[in-house]
Symmetry: C2
Subunit: 298 residues, 2 copies
């Protein structure tokens, strides 16, 4: 296959940016990768590791040569950084992001992006509890889902190119409305993080419990600690930026927990059994579907 873009800039060479760089190189999808970031020393190491070909520790004329910029910073920085990069970009450059929240980012960027450039909101749903390019790997996106959130004014050609970029690194690409994306992610990703943090921290608050947990934690609890070990700054920003969707999701969770608690109080074994069976049946369904990709095509 031919090269999709001659020159790509990746702003934020962390877990996602680093993994994308590795995948793009390995599969020869792009000619050259320019790393953009604040920490020159880290960019230097990323270049030494062969993850990027060159770097810019400041926004400057070197950005003028790229065909696409992937903004892979924490969500809180995407809008500002995009605004600051615009003056350096050549006509026709596509800007895309990897943010876990879309509505605010897409809406704000739409307000200032010039007609000569394109912005395509994107969210590759992939990651681990680790962060930094040291944790990155080329196969991170294989069999993952990548959501694109174009708006009515987004260039279909730009959307098609970003779709191809993510498809070629192994993602199944789907397209949807920003608002719907944010609602779904609040439910299947942001809420689970809030719950995992709550699970771990409500035990840590109990006096003398830290040592107890270390000695007696069983299988289930360890999974919570893994989720709750995710990057604090990143998750603070995601949850605050998407709070309009996260708060109602927390409330639905609270209502349901109260329902279960009431059944426990009443000793209602029948209710508990039938509720627990729902999760169990669903997990089986999930396992069956693991081989089948989602149906809503981009």
């Amino acid at each position: 296959m031919t090269v999709l873009f001659e020159r790509v800039a990746i702003s934020g060479v962390g877990l996602i940016g680093g993994s994308l760089a590795k995948a793009l190189k390995e599969k020869k999808i792009v000619g050259e990768i320019l790393g953009v970031g604040r920490h020159e020393e880290r960019l230097q190491r990323a270049r030494e590791d062969g993850i990027i070909d060159g770097y810019a520790a400041h926004l400057d004329a070197s950005l003028g040569g790229v065909d696409v910029v992937v903004v892979a910073t924490p969500v809180g920085m995407i809008v500002d950084l995009t605004k600051k990069m615009i003056p350096f970009l050549k006509k026709g450059t596509i800007i895309t992001d990897v943010g876990s929240v879309k509505k605010e980012i897409v809406r704000e960027i739409a307000q200032f992006i010039p007609d000569t450039l394109h912005f395509v909101g994107a969210h590759p749903i992939a990651g681990t509890e680790n962060s930094g390019f040291e944790a990155s790997f080329a196969t991170l996106f294989e069999n993952s889902t990548c959501v694109l959130t174009p708006v009515s004014t987004t260039s279909p050609v730009a959307v098609a190119k970003i779709k191809e970029l993510w498809s070629r690194v192994g993602s199944h690409v789907v397209s949807m409305d920003c608002d719907r994306h944010d609602e779904i992610l609040a439910a299947v990703s942001h809420l689970p993080h809030v719950i995992a943090y709550s699970m771990v921290n409500c035990l840590l608050k109990r006096e003398g419990f830290e040592k107890t947990i270390l000695s007696f934690s069983a299988g289930g609890f360890k999974d919570f600690t893994r989720i709750a070990a995710s990057h604090s700054e990143m998750w603070r920003d995601i949850i605050l930026m998407n709070r309009d969707k996260v708060l109602p999701a927390i409330e639905l969770f609270q209502d349901y927990l109260n329902e279960l608690k009431e059944a426990i109080e009443k000793g209602d074994g029948e209710k508990l059994f039938s509720e627990f069976q729902k999760s169990r049946t669903f997990k089986r369904l999930m396992k069956e579907k693991e081989v089948t990709p989602p149906s809503s095509e981009c």
Copy 2:
């Protein structure tokens, strides 16, 4: 090493009972294993698989030849089954269990066990989300913790023997009060299961969400579905039997979740960051301690 017991009966040859049988055989800790259960066909298969040497599908005189009985049934059956087995056991037989809840079991059995027999409450903290002897494996207890809950009248010799049994299959054995055991397990195991069931089910309740979850669930959420796929009957019984400890644990969780929710509502990023950092720091501590066994010796 010499054989610890000549003949052992395991009542309930499921994941725990089956794994114990495999470990006892592999390490030559016992001479002969008798499987006890309600389903003759399954016992027959367990014998064909070499997990047990013989079986009793009814409580009968064959139990008179054993030195120890391990009751490895769901918690709701342990007390009744123990009562029914007693008439068949020879003088000096040790009865022990593997129940995840201890206070009710230990208290009830103490009321009817004759002076000629011994009961040692035990809880090997091990398991997977699977059940049945088909899922059993000999190394399940390696590096796990097994809690013994002897009372003042329990024979120290019987306790020492059960301690050796679990030590020799790889468990680190500790001893503690039933009440304390139930409080700790409510926090580190029973509560996490209630929360995981709530997390999965609160999404399943949302209309049309089942397909959405299948398509978009990311890393974190999948861990919840794994925990929530645990055996429904078993977890119903555990949670109801330990509800005096589980309900206060749920309430502490609810209080904490409300605290986080309030911080999200207020947009209090500082609070969210510092709370998230607590979990993250704790996970690091957990990783460091993974090589160190718990300190409270039996």
